[in-house]
């Protein structure tokens, strides 16, 4: 360890104390590797400030010493945005000790929280005030609100409540020079200049460290109705989505899609699952309505889907009569990740398209992938209601490292070229991080990259905030 490094650690210790430093190699290990095991880095030290003031001091010290900072929340990212590089020169700033619910304001329908609050705890705090915080995603038991903000997290309720961006009213951010921007405003209307908040949201730790947020709360849903339908084509499901929305309005809270292959994979590899319909369908949808009170929610869903059956838009439908049945359907949807891991090696995609283009994309991409000389099965599923497909391509479990690498390059290019042509996004909800950084430069308009770099330069001229990510 160099003198400089020892000196930096001593100064950090003076700010955060022993409790705020992780120097031991074993203790550091979980911070250095992403949970998918794709990226592994090294650091000078992991620092865990107890509050915003300590965070500001830590960042100020890194500013002075030109020490690069990787902010990390629950370390549940999909794109390596929170994993350090392997230079050993970076510092991980973990927000996990900052985990206070600062205030719940039921009359304002807002909640102010530390960035390190775990998403499930934020949901729980809202529930305890008879309110609802709608962000919901697989990692909610360990991801943090700060990470959700830094990556503008999505999940299953976006079609109804929007991304994390739409769920935050105010932010507190430590800027790259250690000054604190207090933007913790709980206002629905504020037109006093440039929207700094939304610049930090989704910037993946490259413009500052988010330390707190004011989040929007909603009325608690007290009734739900869930159904599963099968259709021959994706066009039919897109049409059904439009019909359901026109009829049910904002009661529609989930419209998830699974192809026949996705469902078959889950049924084969996940215990205690069974097919919801008598006959397999080419495309399945899990549809859920919610409301503050019942008022015939189930009847409404049966009516709209009954009409769709009559019109031949769907082949079959199954309605849940109990919470257990609904949970069984959600288990099918949520079992895909696990099933994929067991069944093969997966070239993942996280794309978004205009909903009106999803069917055409799927047809074209299916054909193009079949035309490649690589044994592959398409696992097409996702959040149809907001145009987000996880259009994954699975290759045999026995594939070598080189084969995976080749397949990834081929299929990423094929899928993303098509997405770019159709005015879609190559990263709908997982962010760019390290995973899509090179692709971003390839696909983004040069003008847009230039504007992003100008912003980076304006906010972080020393380039110490999460270097090597996003940009």
């Amino acid at each position: 360890m160099s003198d400089n490094t020892q000196d930096l650690i001593a100064q950090l210790r003076a700010i955060v104390g022993d409790a705020g430093l992780v120097t031991d190699a074993d203790a550091q290990a979980p911070y250095l590797k992403d949970w998918l095991g794709k990226w592994q880095g090294r650091v000078t030290v992991v620092v865990r400030p107890a509050d915003t003031a300590q965070t500001a001091e830590v960042v100020r010290l890194c500013h002075i010493t030109h020490t690069p900072i990787v902010a990390q929340g629950g370390n549940t990212g999909m794109s390596g945005g929170g994993t350090p590089d392997d230079s050993g020169a970076q510092v991980i700033l973990s927000t996990t000790r900052m985990n206070r619910i600062r205030e719940v304001d039921p009359l304002n329908n807002t909640m102010t929280v530390d960035a390190g609050v775990i998403l499930a705890n934020a949901q729980q705090a809202a529930r305890e005030a008879d309110r609802y915080f709608p962000l919901s995603l697989g990692a909610e038991g360990s991801c943090t609100v700060g990470g959700n903000l830094a990556t503008n997290a999505g999940g299953i309720a976006v079609l109804r409540f929007g991304n994390m961006r739409e769920l935050a009213l105010g932010l507190e951010v430590v800027l790259p020079d250690g000054r604190i921007w207090n933007g913790l405003r709980g206002l629905r209307k504020d037109n006093t200049g440039y929207d700094l908040r939304d610049l930090f949201i989704g910037s993946e730790g490259t413009l500052g460290v988010i330390t707190g947020a004011v989040l929007k709360l909603f009325a608690q849903p007290h009734a739900r109705a869930t159904a599963w339908v099968g259709a021959d084509t994706l066009e039919q499901l897109v049409e059904l989505l439009a019909r359901t929305r026109a009829r049910c309005g904002e009661r529609l809270v989930a419209f998830e899609m699974m192809s026949a292959a996705s469902l078959a994979l889950v049924l084969q590899h996940v215990a205690d699952t069974r097919a919801p319909l008598a006959q397999p369908a080419a495309f399945n949808a899990l549809i859920e309505l919610a409301d503050t009170e019942d008022g015939g929610l189930q009847a409404m869903l049966e009516d709209v889907l009954g009409q769709a059956l009559e019109d031949g838009l769907v082949n079959d439908a199954m309605f849940c009569a109990s919470q257990a049945q609904s949970a069984a359907l959600w288990k099918l949807r949520e079992g895909i990740s696990q099933a994929q891991v067991r069944a093969g090696k997966v070239v993942k995609h996280d794309i978004a398209l205009p909903i009106s283009s999803l069917a055409a994309f799927t047809q074209a991409a299916d054909a193009a992938i079949a035309g490649e000389d690589i044994p592959a099965e398409i696992i097409n599923f996702g959040h149809l209601g907001d145009g987000n497909l996880h259009f994954n391509v699975m290759i045999p479990l026995s594939s070598t490292y080189e084969e995976v690498k080749h397949a990834t390059a081929v299929f990423n290019r094929l899928v993303h070229d098509m997405v770019a042509r159709m005015n879609g996004s190559i990263s709908a909800e997982h962010g760019v991080g390290q995973l899509r950084r090179d692709e971003l430069r390839h696909y983004k308009q040069p003008l847009e990259m230039e504007l992003m770099l100008r912003i980076k330069q304006a906010f972080d001229p020393n380039l110490i905030m999460n270097p090597g990510k996003l940009l």
Copy 2:
């Protein structure tokens, strides 16, 4: 006219043709003055490009010649953001010839429009596709979508659908050097870098000229229920808002407040109006629910307000049995502007606070204003559901210019000091423009002003975009 000016006009004519230039003084007049008659400027010329390509050429020319540009839509702003200064050196770039609905995509629930489309025409285009575009405000018959975006317009449906910011998915912007940023993406999820869209929205023409947008559409409401209630205190209405939201969820589309003085003013000065309740109430609320289908909407509203009556939270309630009755209630709410003009001279405010602070603010501000040695009546009304009060102070119609000036300085300072202490906004939905520019510098955190200036510098280093506004 100098040679330089003649030269500039000739070059502009080469781009936009005779149809795109307004050089005649009479024809220019409506562009040079805001509709409230508060600001009046002069220009070299008014240029009206026919499309995005022409706009880009015009801006490119201004970039080369360092000619300052004031972008203007329907010229309905409240803060002078679209009025040129009186140097005569500026050029007005009017977007009003760019008025095409480019595309309506019902399956994607989006609409792509030129910036110059009048808001009411955008609403109409949505309706024709059996969809709903919810932005609604007094000027909707003449304001443009581009102006709505540049000022992040609010209005009466924000508590349910958000500001213009929440209603836009993609933008097309001509940058200060004349290059076109095509961000016309119709995606609900897109996490590929910094959020440029939201930087332009609300930037009041200081970072570029918005020429097109992709807007979100919603399901058409097919049922509405409207009621009027009277209460003794603002606390009671805030509590009623919370209850109504908990019970009715997103059916609640309007919760407007009028003080007794506001209502009395309308009844006195606007023809064909009558009091909705038998006894005047200190605070009134106009409450509206909407839904895609009826399903007992009226009964739900009667139930929640009936319970509030029983609990003594409100004194009286009137339910609308017809569209005509509902229109009569809305006429009371919308009549305030007209009534104020007839009754006195008005020191206007457009503030936002956490909803939980509205009552405390009102009490304190009422007392403080009564303590000033200026004859004044408080006209307190606004969008209670999103914390936005137009807390206006009316002084006698006979007040002199000097008296108005003095009262404005005193009451602006008093109200805005209080708003700042309560973590509110001094410009909720009207923007900064010229009206609040000096106050913005006074109230905004220096750090936030600094970040805004850095962004301005990064995007518009020659400072040609709407100089003298906002910053």
